[in-house]
Protein backbone atom coordinates (compact mmCIF):
# COMPACT_ATOMS: atom_id res chain seq x y z
CA UNK A 1 0.00 0.00 0.00
CA UNK A 2 1.42 3.37 -1.00
CA UNK A 3 0.44 6.52 0.82
CA UNK A 4 1.10 9.66 -1.11
CA UNK A 5 1.43 13.03 0.62
CA UNK A 6 -1.80 14.59 1.78
CA UNK A 7 -4.22 15.22 -1.07
CA UNK A 8 -6.45 17.18 1.23
CA UNK A 9 -4.71 20.28 0.01
CA UNK A 10 -6.35 23.68 0.39
CA UNK A 11 -8.31 25.12 -2.47
CA UNK A 12 -5.85 25.95 -5.20
CA UNK A 13 -6.08 29.40 -6.77
CA UNK A 14 -6.60 27.92 -10.23
CA UNK A 15 -9.58 25.95 -8.92
CA UNK A 16 -11.12 29.27 -7.95
CA UNK A 17 -10.68 30.64 -11.46
CA UNK A 18 -12.15 27.52 -12.99
CA UNK A 19 -15.12 27.76 -10.64
CA UNK A 20 -15.75 31.38 -11.62
CA UNK A 21 -15.53 30.44 -15.32
CA UNK A 22 -18.09 27.65 -14.85
CA UNK A 23 -20.42 30.01 -12.98
CA UNK A 24 -20.04 32.47 -15.85
CA UNK A 25 -21.04 29.80 -18.38
CA UNK A 26 -24.06 28.85 -16.26
CA UNK A 27 -25.20 32.47 -15.93
CA UNK A 28 -24.78 32.89 -19.69
CA UNK A 29 -26.76 29.68 -20.37
CA UNK A 30 -29.52 30.73 -17.96
CA UNK A 31 -29.83 34.15 -19.67
CA UNK A 32 -30.01 32.49 -23.12
CA UNK A 33 -32.59 30.00 -21.80
CA UNK A 34 -34.67 32.82 -20.33
CA UNK A 35 -34.46 34.87 -23.56
CA UNK A 36 -35.51 31.87 -25.67
CA UNK A 37 -38.45 31.29 -23.33
CA UNK A 38 -39.61 34.90 -23.76
CA UNK A 39 -38.89 35.51 -27.45
CA UNK A 40 -39.34 32.13 -29.17
CA UNK A 41 -41.76 30.40 -26.79
CA UNK A 42 -43.42 33.66 -25.59
CA UNK A 43 -43.94 32.13 -22.16
CA UNK A 44 -45.98 29.26 -23.62
CA UNK A 45 -45.02 25.62 -22.96
CA UNK A 46 -42.39 24.58 -25.53
CA UNK A 47 -40.89 21.08 -25.51
CA UNK A 48 -37.31 21.79 -26.51
CA UNK A 49 -36.90 25.12 -24.69
CA UNK A 50 -38.50 23.91 -21.46
CA UNK A 51 -36.27 20.85 -21.52
CA UNK A 52 -33.25 23.09 -22.12
CA UNK A 53 -34.20 25.25 -19.14
CA UNK A 54 -34.71 22.33 -16.79
CA UNK A 55 -31.36 20.95 -17.94
CA UNK A 56 -29.69 24.28 -17.11
CA UNK A 57 -31.40 24.33 -13.72
CA UNK A 58 -30.12 20.81 -13.02
CA UNK A 59 -26.62 21.94 -14.00
CA UNK A 60 -26.76 24.63 -11.30
CA UNK A 61 -27.50 21.95 -8.72
CA UNK A 62 -24.76 19.64 -10.06
CA UNK A 63 -22.14 22.42 -10.06
CA UNK A 64 -23.08 23.50 -6.53
CA UNK A 65 -22.91 19.91 -5.23
CA UNK A 66 -19.55 19.23 -6.90
CA UNK A 67 -18.17 22.53 -5.56
CA UNK A 68 -19.35 21.70 -2.07
CA UNK A 69 -17.65 18.31 -2.28
CA UNK A 70 -14.45 19.96 -3.53
CA UNK A 71 -14.30 22.31 -0.56
CA UNK A 72 -14.40 19.23 1.69
CA UNK A 73 -11.34 17.78 -0.08
CA UNK A 74 -10.66 14.12 -0.69
CA UNK A 75 -13.28 12.85 1.77
CA UNK A 76 -15.97 15.04 0.23
CA UNK A 77 -15.12 13.95 -3.31
CA UNK A 78 -15.04 10.24 -2.41
CA UNK A 79 -18.42 10.60 -0.66
CA UNK A 80 -19.92 12.46 -3.61
CA UNK A 81 -18.92 9.79 -6.12
CA UNK A 82 -20.01 7.02 -3.78
CA UNK A 83 -23.44 8.61 -3.67
CA UNK A 84 -23.50 8.93 -7.47
CA UNK A 85 -22.49 5.29 -7.85
CA UNK A 86 -25.28 4.29 -5.47
CA UNK A 87 -27.92 6.22 -7.41
CA UNK A 88 -26.61 4.91 -10.75
CA UNK A 89 -26.50 1.29 -9.58
CA UNK A 90 -30.01 1.61 -8.14
CA UNK A 91 -31.29 2.74 -11.54
CA UNK A 92 -29.35 0.01 -13.30
CA UNK A 93 -30.63 -2.94 -11.25
CA UNK A 94 -34.18 -1.59 -11.44
CA UNK A 95 -34.15 -2.15 -15.20
CA UNK A 96 -32.18 -5.41 -15.02
CA UNK A 97 -33.79 -8.82 -14.88
CA UNK A 98 -33.04 -10.47 -11.53
CA UNK A 99 -34.77 -13.20 -9.55
CA UNK A 100 -35.40 -13.74 -5.88
CA UNK A 101 -32.32 -15.99 -5.76
CA UNK A 102 -30.16 -12.97 -6.63
CA UNK A 103 -31.09 -11.11 -3.47
CA UNK A 104 -27.84 -11.93 -1.70
CA UNK A 105 -25.80 -10.87 -4.74
CA UNK A 106 -27.64 -7.55 -4.89
CA UNK A 107 -27.04 -6.99 -1.19
CA UNK A 108 -23.32 -7.72 -1.74
CA UNK A 109 -23.17 -5.20 -4.57
CA UNK A 110 -24.81 -2.38 -2.65
CA UNK A 111 -23.67 -2.99 0.90
CA UNK A 112 -20.19 -4.48 0.46
CA UNK A 113 -18.68 -3.94 -2.99
CA UNK A 114 -19.74 -0.32 -3.39
CA UNK A 115 -18.58 1.11 -0.04
CA UNK A 116 -15.44 -1.03 0.02
CA UNK A 117 -14.34 0.12 -3.44
CA UNK A 118 -14.59 3.75 -2.33
CA UNK A 119 -12.91 2.99 0.99
CA UNK A 120 -9.96 1.45 -0.88
CA UNK A 121 -9.70 4.62 -2.95
CA UNK A 122 -9.92 6.73 0.19
CA UNK A 123 -6.96 4.86 1.71
CA UNK A 124 -5.26 5.06 -1.71
CA UNK A 125 -4.54 1.34 -2.09
CA UNK A 126 -4.10 1.17 -5.87
CA UNK A 127 -3.03 -2.48 -5.90
CA UNK A 128 -6.39 -3.56 -4.50
CA UNK A 129 -8.93 -1.01 -5.77
CA UNK A 130 -7.87 -1.66 -9.37
CA UNK A 131 -8.70 -5.39 -9.15
CA UNK A 132 -11.14 -5.66 -6.25
CA UNK A 133 -14.33 -5.56 -8.36
CA UNK A 134 -13.16 -7.21 -11.60
CA UNK A 135 -11.46 -10.10 -9.79
CA UNK A 136 -12.71 -10.69 -6.26
CA UNK A 137 -16.28 -9.43 -6.47
CA UNK A 138 -16.78 -10.88 -9.95
CA UNK A 139 -15.87 -14.35 -8.68
CA UNK A 140 -17.93 -14.00 -5.52
CA UNK A 141 -21.11 -12.94 -7.33
CA UNK A 142 -21.82 -16.15 -9.30
CA UNK A 143 -20.85 -18.18 -6.23
CA UNK A 144 -23.48 -16.40 -4.13
CA UNK A 145 -25.96 -16.60 -6.99
CA UNK A 146 -25.47 -20.36 -7.20
CA UNK A 147 -26.29 -20.64 -3.48
CA UNK A 148 -29.70 -19.24 -4.46
CA UNK A 149 -30.33 -22.53 -6.25
CA UNK A 150 -32.14 -21.01 -9.23
CA UNK A 151 -30.55 -21.88 -12.60
CA UNK A 152 -33.11 -19.98 -14.65
CA UNK A 153 -31.15 -17.63 -17.01
CA UNK A 154 -28.26 -17.98 -14.55
CA UNK A 155 -25.36 -16.67 -16.64
CA UNK A 156 -27.44 -13.85 -18.05
CA UNK A 157 -28.47 -12.67 -14.59
CA UNK A 158 -24.95 -12.82 -13.19
CA UNK A 159 -23.34 -11.16 -16.20
CA UNK A 160 -25.85 -8.32 -16.13
CA UNK A 161 -25.24 -7.64 -12.46
CA UNK A 162 -21.46 -7.76 -12.99
CA UNK A 163 -21.71 -5.30 -15.86
CA UNK A 164 -23.78 -2.98 -13.67
CA UNK A 165 -21.14 -3.01 -10.95
CA UNK A 166 -18.47 -2.44 -13.58
CA UNK A 167 -19.97 0.72 -15.05
CA UNK A 168 -21.77 2.19 -12.04
CA UNK A 169 -19.09 1.59 -9.43
CA UNK A 170 -15.74 0.45 -10.83
CA UNK A 171 -15.52 2.83 -13.79
CA UNK A 172 -16.99 5.81 -11.97
CA UNK A 173 -14.66 5.34 -9.00
CA UNK A 174 -11.72 6.14 -11.28
CA UNK A 175 -12.64 9.81 -10.99
CA UNK A 176 -11.90 10.15 -7.25
CA UNK A 177 -9.03 7.69 -7.81
CA UNK A 178 -7.27 10.49 -9.70
CA UNK A 179 -6.60 11.98 -6.25
CA UNK A 180 -4.31 9.05 -5.44
CA UNK A 181 -1.87 9.67 -8.31
CA UNK A 182 1.55 11.17 -7.50
CA UNK A 183 2.29 13.50 -10.39
CA UNK A 184 5.60 15.37 -9.97
CA UNK A 185 5.12 19.12 -10.02
CA UNK A 186 1.35 18.77 -9.68
CA UNK A 187 1.09 18.38 -5.90
CA UNK A 188 -2.03 19.70 -4.25
CA UNK A 189 -3.88 20.30 -7.53
CA UNK A 190 -5.48 16.89 -8.12
CA UNK A 191 -9.00 18.21 -7.72
CA UNK A 192 -8.39 20.18 -10.89
CA UNK A 193 -7.79 16.96 -12.77
CA UNK A 194 -11.24 15.69 -11.74
CA UNK A 195 -12.82 19.01 -12.67
CA UNK A 196 -10.99 18.87 -16.01
CA UNK A 197 -12.29 15.42 -16.92
CA UNK A 198 -15.86 16.25 -15.91
CA UNK A 199 -15.82 19.59 -17.69
CA UNK A 200 -14.40 18.35 -20.98
CA UNK A 201 -16.60 15.26 -21.20
CA UNK A 202 -19.78 17.03 -20.08
CA UNK A 203 -19.01 19.98 -22.35
CA UNK A 204 -18.68 17.48 -25.18
CA UNK A 205 -22.16 16.13 -24.34
CA UNK A 206 -23.68 19.60 -24.15
CA UNK A 207 -21.91 20.80 -27.31
CA UNK A 208 -22.97 17.69 -29.22
CA UNK A 209 -26.53 18.51 -28.21
CA UNK A 210 -26.16 22.17 -29.26
CA UNK A 211 -24.36 21.45 -32.57
CA UNK A 212 -26.83 18.66 -33.27
CA UNK A 213 -29.77 21.06 -32.82
CA UNK A 214 -28.05 23.67 -35.05
CA UNK A 215 -26.56 21.67 -37.95
CA UNK A 216 -27.31 18.02 -37.19
CA UNK A 217 -29.08 16.13 -39.96
CA UNK A 218 -27.68 12.70 -40.71
CA UNK A 219 -27.96 10.29 -37.77
CA UNK A 220 -24.78 8.51 -36.67
CA UNK A 221 -26.48 5.39 -35.33
CA UNK A 222 -30.22 5.50 -36.06
CA UNK A 223 -30.74 2.03 -34.59
CA UNK A 224 -29.18 3.07 -31.27
CA UNK A 225 -29.96 6.71 -30.65
CA UNK A 226 -32.26 9.11 -32.49
CA UNK A 227 -30.51 12.19 -31.11
CA UNK A 228 -26.89 11.61 -32.16
CA UNK A 229 -26.08 13.24 -35.51
CA UNK A 230 -22.89 13.54 -37.58
CA UNK A 231 -22.99 17.33 -37.29
CA UNK A 232 -23.42 17.12 -33.52
CA UNK A 233 -20.66 14.53 -33.21
CA UNK A 234 -18.03 16.42 -35.24
CA UNK A 235 -18.96 19.88 -33.94
CA UNK A 236 -19.34 18.74 -30.34
CA UNK A 237 -16.19 16.67 -30.05
CA UNK A 238 -14.21 19.25 -32.04
CA UNK A 239 -15.23 22.18 -29.86
CA UNK A 240 -14.89 20.20 -26.61
CA UNK A 241 -11.37 19.18 -27.67
CA UNK A 242 -10.59 22.86 -28.25
CA UNK A 243 -11.94 23.64 -24.77
CA UNK A 244 -9.81 20.85 -23.28
CA UNK A 245 -6.75 22.20 -25.08
CA UNK A 246 -7.46 25.72 -23.84
CA UNK A 247 -7.66 24.42 -20.27
CA UNK A 248 -4.21 22.80 -20.42
CA UNK A 249 -2.99 25.20 -17.71
CA UNK A 250 -4.96 23.43 -15.03
CA UNK A 251 -3.48 20.02 -15.95
CA UNK A 252 0.00 18.49 -15.98
CA UNK A 253 -0.24 18.36 -19.81
CA UNK A 254 1.41 20.49 -22.51
CA UNK A 255 -1.15 22.03 -24.92
CA UNK A 256 -0.66 19.36 -27.63
CA UNK A 257 -0.91 16.64 -25.01
CA UNK A 258 -4.07 18.23 -23.63
CA UNK A 259 -5.54 18.17 -27.16
CA UNK A 260 -4.86 14.45 -27.58
CA UNK A 261 -6.12 13.57 -24.10
CA UNK A 262 -9.28 15.66 -24.63
CA UNK A 263 -9.97 14.03 -27.98
CA UNK A 264 -9.56 10.58 -26.39
CA UNK A 265 -11.95 11.22 -23.50
CA UNK A 266 -14.50 12.95 -25.73
CA UNK A 267 -14.51 9.95 -28.08
CA UNK A 268 -14.79 7.53 -25.15
CA UNK A 269 -17.63 9.66 -23.80
CA UNK A 270 -19.47 9.56 -27.11
CA UNK A 271 -19.02 5.79 -27.43
CA UNK A 272 -20.15 5.32 -23.83
CA UNK A 273 -23.34 7.22 -24.59
CA UNK A 274 -23.86 4.96 -27.61
CA UNK A 275 -23.45 1.76 -25.60
CA UNK A 276 -25.78 2.95 -22.84
CA UNK A 277 -28.36 3.97 -25.47
CA UNK A 278 -28.19 0.46 -26.91
CA UNK A 279 -28.94 -1.00 -23.47
CA UNK A 280 -31.86 1.39 -22.97
CA UNK A 281 -33.21 0.58 -26.44
CA UNK A 282 -33.05 -3.12 -25.69
CA UNK A 283 -35.08 -2.56 -22.50
CA UNK A 284 -37.55 -0.30 -24.31
CA UNK A 285 -36.98 2.78 -22.15
CA UNK A 286 -35.93 6.30 -23.10
CA UNK A 287 -34.19 7.22 -19.86
CA UNK A 288 -32.57 5.32 -17.01
CA UNK A 289 -34.62 7.16 -14.42
CA UNK A 290 -36.15 10.47 -13.45
CA UNK A 291 -33.78 11.65 -10.74
CA UNK A 292 -32.41 14.72 -12.56
CA UNK A 293 -35.12 16.85 -14.14
CA UNK A 294 -34.58 17.41 -17.86
CA UNK A 295 -31.74 14.89 -18.06
CA UNK A 296 -33.48 11.68 -17.00
CA UNK A 297 -31.67 9.56 -14.46
CA UNK A 298 -28.23 9.65 -12.86
CA UNK A 299 -26.92 7.18 -15.46
CA UNK A 300 -28.20 9.33 -18.34
CA UNK A 301 -25.93 12.10 -17.10
CA UNK A 302 -22.98 9.85 -16.25
CA UNK A 303 -22.90 7.48 -19.23
CA UNK A 304 -20.13 9.37 -21.02
CA UNK A 305 -18.04 10.09 -17.90
CA UNK A 306 -18.19 6.43 -16.91
CA UNK A 307 -16.50 5.33 -20.12
CA UNK A 308 -13.97 8.17 -20.18
CA UNK A 309 -12.82 7.98 -16.53
CA UNK A 310 -10.80 4.72 -16.47
CA UNK A 311 -9.11 5.52 -19.79
CA UNK A 312 -8.19 9.00 -18.58
CA UNK A 313 -6.96 7.61 -15.28
CA UNK A 314 -4.65 5.09 -16.94
CA UNK A 315 -3.38 7.54 -19.57
CA UNK A 316 -2.37 9.92 -16.78
CA UNK A 317 -0.98 7.12 -14.64
CA UNK A 318 1.07 5.60 -17.48
CA UNK A 319 2.61 8.78 -18.89
CA UNK A 320 2.68 11.22 -15.99
CA UNK A 321 3.29 9.14 -12.89
CA UNK A 322 6.93 8.00 -12.68
Amino acid sequence: MIHSPSQNAPFHEQTGWLFIAVLGVLVFASVIGGLLKWTVARGEPHGVIDNLNSRIKAWWVIVLLVSLAFTLGKTGVVMLFMFMSFAALREYVTLTYTRTADHLVLALMFYVALPLQYYLIWIEWYGLYSIFIPVHVFLTMPILASFGGDTNRFLERTAKMQWGLMICVFCLSHLPALLTLDIPGYEGRHLLLIAYLIMVVQASDVLQYVWGKLIGKRKVAPQLSPSKTVGGLVGGIGSATLLGTGLYWCTPFAPWQAALVSLTICLMGFLGGLVMSAIKRDRGVKDWGTMIEGHGGMLDRLDSVVFAAPVFFHVVRYWWVP
Partner: protein, 218 residues
Protein backbone atom coordinates in the same frame (compact mmCIF):
# COMPACT_ATOMS: atom_id res chain seq x y z
CA UNK B 1 -47.76 21.34 24.20
CA UNK B 2 -48.23 18.03 26.00
CA UNK B 3 -50.13 16.55 23.09
CA UNK B 4 -47.36 17.76 20.78
CA UNK B 5 -44.73 16.01 22.92
CA UNK B 6 -46.85 12.89 22.91
CA UNK B 7 -47.06 12.92 19.13
CA UNK B 8 -43.33 13.57 18.67
CA UNK B 9 -42.02 9.96 18.69
CA UNK B 10 -44.61 8.89 16.12
CA UNK B 11 -43.91 11.85 13.85
CA UNK B 12 -40.13 11.36 14.15
CA UNK B 13 -40.42 7.64 13.43
CA UNK B 14 -42.63 8.44 10.44
CA UNK B 15 -40.09 10.86 9.02
CA UNK B 16 -37.31 8.32 9.53
CA UNK B 17 -39.30 5.61 7.77
CA UNK B 18 -40.03 7.92 4.85
CA UNK B 19 -36.36 8.92 4.62
CA UNK B 20 -35.31 5.26 4.43
CA UNK B 21 -38.05 4.52 1.89
CA UNK B 22 -36.85 7.36 -0.32
CA UNK B 23 -33.17 6.42 0.02
CA UNK B 24 -33.86 2.79 -0.87
CA UNK B 25 -36.48 3.23 -3.57
CA UNK B 26 -36.34 6.86 -4.75
CA UNK B 27 -40.11 6.43 -4.81
CA UNK B 28 -42.15 8.89 -6.82
CA UNK B 29 -45.88 9.23 -7.43
CA UNK B 30 -47.29 9.01 -10.96
CA UNK B 31 -50.68 10.71 -10.98
CA UNK B 32 -52.19 9.03 -14.02
CA UNK B 33 -55.88 9.81 -14.02
CA UNK B 34 -56.33 11.42 -10.62
CA UNK B 35 -54.69 14.28 -8.75
CA UNK B 36 -53.78 14.56 -5.05
CA UNK B 37 -56.91 16.37 -3.86
CA UNK B 38 -58.61 16.45 -0.48
CA UNK B 39 -61.56 14.39 -1.77
CA UNK B 40 -62.43 11.44 0.48
CA UNK B 41 -60.92 8.40 -1.13
CA UNK B 42 -60.35 4.70 -0.86
CA UNK B 43 -56.99 3.94 -2.42
CA UNK B 44 -56.97 0.26 -3.39
CA UNK B 45 -53.63 -1.24 -4.38
CA UNK B 46 -51.73 -4.42 -5.17
CA UNK B 47 -50.09 -5.96 -2.11
CA UNK B 48 -46.72 -7.70 -2.42
CA UNK B 49 -44.77 -6.58 0.61
CA UNK B 50 -44.99 -4.95 4.02
CA UNK B 51 -43.45 -1.87 2.41
CA UNK B 52 -46.56 -1.27 0.31
CA UNK B 53 -48.46 1.26 2.34
CA UNK B 54 -45.22 2.96 3.37
CA UNK B 55 -44.74 3.81 -0.31
CA UNK B 56 -48.32 5.08 -0.75
CA UNK B 57 -47.95 7.02 2.46
CA UNK B 58 -44.61 8.52 1.36
CA UNK B 59 -45.90 9.62 -2.03
CA UNK B 60 -49.01 11.38 -0.70
CA UNK B 61 -48.61 15.10 0.09
CA UNK B 62 -48.21 15.68 3.86
CA UNK B 63 -51.67 17.24 4.26
CA UNK B 64 -53.34 14.19 2.70
CA UNK B 65 -51.08 11.74 4.52
CA UNK B 66 -52.37 12.96 7.89
CA UNK B 67 -55.96 12.05 6.99
CA UNK B 68 -55.27 8.82 5.09
CA UNK B 69 -55.34 5.62 7.14
CA UNK B 70 -54.15 2.20 6.04
CA UNK B 71 -56.44 -0.72 6.79
CA UNK B 72 -54.47 -3.61 8.27
CA UNK B 73 -54.83 -6.95 10.02
CA UNK B 74 -55.06 -6.63 13.79
CA UNK B 75 -53.37 -10.01 14.41
CA UNK B 76 -50.20 -8.80 12.68
CA UNK B 77 -50.09 -5.22 13.94
CA UNK B 78 -50.79 -5.96 17.60
CA UNK B 79 -48.33 -8.87 17.80
CA UNK B 80 -45.26 -6.95 19.07
CA UNK B 81 -44.62 -3.63 20.81
CA UNK B 82 -42.81 -2.18 17.80
CA UNK B 83 -45.67 -3.06 15.45
CA UNK B 84 -48.22 -1.65 17.94
CA UNK B 85 -46.26 1.61 18.04
CA UNK B 86 -45.95 1.79 14.26
CA UNK B 87 -49.58 0.89 13.68
CA UNK B 88 -51.11 3.33 16.15
CA UNK B 89 -48.64 6.21 16.51
CA UNK B 90 -47.02 6.34 13.06
CA UNK B 91 -49.44 5.09 10.42
CA UNK B 92 -52.65 5.57 12.44
CA UNK B 93 -53.85 2.29 10.97
CA UNK B 94 -57.43 1.09 11.10
CA UNK B 95 -57.03 -2.41 12.53
CA UNK B 96 -59.38 -5.15 11.43
CA UNK B 97 -59.93 -8.29 13.46
CA UNK B 98 -59.59 -10.95 10.78
CA UNK B 99 -60.02 -13.78 13.29
CA UNK B 100 -63.43 -12.52 14.51
CA UNK B 101 -62.33 -13.19 18.11
CA UNK B 102 -65.43 -11.55 19.64
CA UNK B 103 -69.01 -11.95 18.44
CA UNK B 104 -71.26 -8.93 17.76
CA UNK B 105 -68.49 -6.59 16.74
CA UNK B 106 -69.11 -4.24 13.82
CA UNK B 107 -68.17 -5.65 10.43
CA UNK B 108 -64.93 -4.43 8.76
CA UNK B 109 -66.96 -2.60 6.12
CA UNK B 110 -68.87 -0.72 8.85
CA UNK B 111 -65.61 0.25 10.58
CA UNK B 112 -64.17 1.53 7.31
CA UNK B 113 -67.36 3.42 6.48
CA UNK B 114 -67.19 5.15 9.90
CA UNK B 115 -63.70 6.44 9.11
CA UNK B 116 -64.77 7.68 5.67
CA UNK B 117 -67.81 9.41 7.19
CA UNK B 118 -65.45 11.32 9.48
CA UNK B 119 -63.89 12.81 6.34
CA UNK B 120 -60.77 10.65 6.29
CA UNK B 121 -59.44 8.48 3.46
CA UNK B 122 -58.36 4.82 3.49
CA UNK B 123 -55.69 2.63 1.93
CA UNK B 124 -56.83 -0.95 1.35
CA UNK B 125 -55.36 -4.03 -0.26
CA UNK B 126 -58.33 -5.95 -1.69
CA UNK B 127 -56.23 -9.05 -2.43
CA UNK B 128 -56.64 -9.70 1.29
CA UNK B 129 -53.12 -10.96 1.80
CA UNK B 130 -49.60 -10.37 0.51
CA UNK B 131 -49.22 -11.73 -3.00
CA UNK B 132 -46.22 -14.07 -2.94
CA UNK B 133 -47.19 -15.96 -6.08
CA UNK B 134 -45.92 -15.54 -9.63
CA UNK B 135 -49.21 -13.92 -10.67
CA UNK B 136 -49.13 -10.10 -10.81
CA UNK B 137 -52.42 -9.77 -8.91
CA UNK B 138 -54.63 -12.08 -6.84
CA UNK B 139 -58.45 -12.02 -7.18
CA UNK B 140 -59.99 -9.20 -5.13
CA UNK B 141 -62.08 -9.88 -2.04
CA UNK B 142 -65.54 -8.35 -1.97
CA UNK B 143 -64.96 -5.70 0.74
CA UNK B 144 -64.16 -3.03 -1.83
CA UNK B 145 -67.53 -3.57 -3.53
CA UNK B 146 -69.53 -3.43 -0.31
CA UNK B 147 -67.63 -0.36 0.87
CA UNK B 148 -68.25 1.38 -2.46
CA UNK B 149 -71.97 0.57 -2.23
CA UNK B 150 -72.15 1.86 1.34
CA UNK B 151 -70.29 5.11 0.61
CA UNK B 152 -71.24 5.98 -2.99
CA UNK B 153 -69.78 9.50 -2.90
CA UNK B 154 -66.28 8.31 -1.96
CA UNK B 155 -63.74 8.10 -4.81
CA UNK B 156 -62.36 4.59 -5.37
CA UNK B 157 -58.82 5.19 -6.69
CA UNK B 158 -56.86 2.25 -8.18
CA UNK B 159 -53.15 2.20 -7.31
CA UNK B 160 -50.28 0.12 -8.68
CA UNK B 161 -47.16 -0.11 -6.52
CA UNK B 162 -44.28 -1.14 -8.75
CA UNK B 163 -41.09 -3.00 -7.85
CA UNK B 164 -41.38 -3.18 -4.06
CA UNK B 165 -41.52 -6.96 -4.29
CA UNK B 166 -37.96 -6.88 -5.63
CA UNK B 167 -36.81 -4.63 -2.76
CA UNK B 168 -37.90 -7.18 -0.14
CA UNK B 169 -38.68 -10.53 -1.83
CA UNK B 170 -40.59 -13.10 0.18
CA UNK B 171 -38.51 -14.79 2.84
CA UNK B 172 -35.91 -11.98 2.91
CA UNK B 173 -35.45 -9.40 5.63
CA UNK B 174 -32.71 -7.18 4.19
CA UNK B 175 -34.07 -4.68 1.65
CA UNK B 176 -31.95 -3.88 -1.42
CA UNK B 177 -32.19 -0.57 -3.28
CA UNK B 178 -34.47 -0.53 -6.34
CA UNK B 179 -36.38 2.37 -7.85
CA UNK B 180 -40.11 2.06 -7.09
CA UNK B 181 -43.08 4.01 -8.33
CA UNK B 182 -46.67 4.41 -7.18
CA UNK B 183 -49.21 5.00 -9.97
CA UNK B 184 -52.59 6.54 -9.09
CA UNK B 185 -55.33 5.95 -11.68
CA UNK B 186 -58.73 7.50 -12.40
CA UNK B 187 -61.41 6.88 -9.73
CA UNK B 188 -63.92 4.09 -10.38
CA UNK B 189 -67.62 4.30 -9.63
CA UNK B 190 -69.87 1.28 -9.16
CA UNK B 191 -72.53 1.22 -11.87
CA UNK B 192 -76.17 1.36 -10.68
CA UNK B 193 -76.85 -2.24 -11.67
CA UNK B 194 -73.32 -3.53 -11.76
CA UNK B 195 -73.00 -6.81 -9.86
CA UNK B 196 -70.22 -7.65 -7.44
CA UNK B 197 -68.22 -9.98 -9.70
CA UNK B 198 -68.27 -7.58 -12.66
CA UNK B 199 -67.15 -4.64 -10.56
CA UNK B 200 -64.34 -6.58 -8.87
CA UNK B 201 -63.04 -7.74 -12.27
CA UNK B 202 -63.14 -4.13 -13.47
CA UNK B 203 -61.30 -2.96 -10.34
CA UNK B 204 -58.59 -5.61 -10.84
CA UNK B 205 -58.19 -4.56 -14.47
CA UNK B 206 -57.93 -0.89 -13.43
CA UNK B 207 -55.06 -1.69 -11.03
CA UNK B 208 -53.24 -3.89 -13.56
CA UNK B 209 -53.59 -1.26 -16.28
CA UNK B 210 -51.42 1.08 -14.20
CA UNK B 211 -48.47 -1.29 -14.23
CA UNK B 212 -45.56 0.37 -16.10
CA UNK B 213 -44.46 -1.29 -19.33
CA UNK B 214 -40.87 -1.78 -18.18
CA UNK B 215 -41.94 -3.46 -14.93
CA UNK B 216 -39.91 -6.61 -14.17
CA UNK B 217 -41.74 -7.91 -11.09
CA UNK B 218 -42.99 -11.48 -11.32
Amino acid sequence: MISFLKRMPGVAAGELIMFCARALTGVRPLWRGSLPTSARRVYFANHGSHGDFVLIWTTLPAALRRVTRPVAGQDYWLATAVRRFLGSKVFNALLIDRMKSQPHQPSPVDLMADVLNKGESLIIFPEGTRNTTEAPLLPFKSGLYHLGKKCPDVELVPVWIDNIRRVIPKGQWLPVPMVCSVSYGAPLAIGPDEDKATFLKRAEAAVLALRPQESIEP
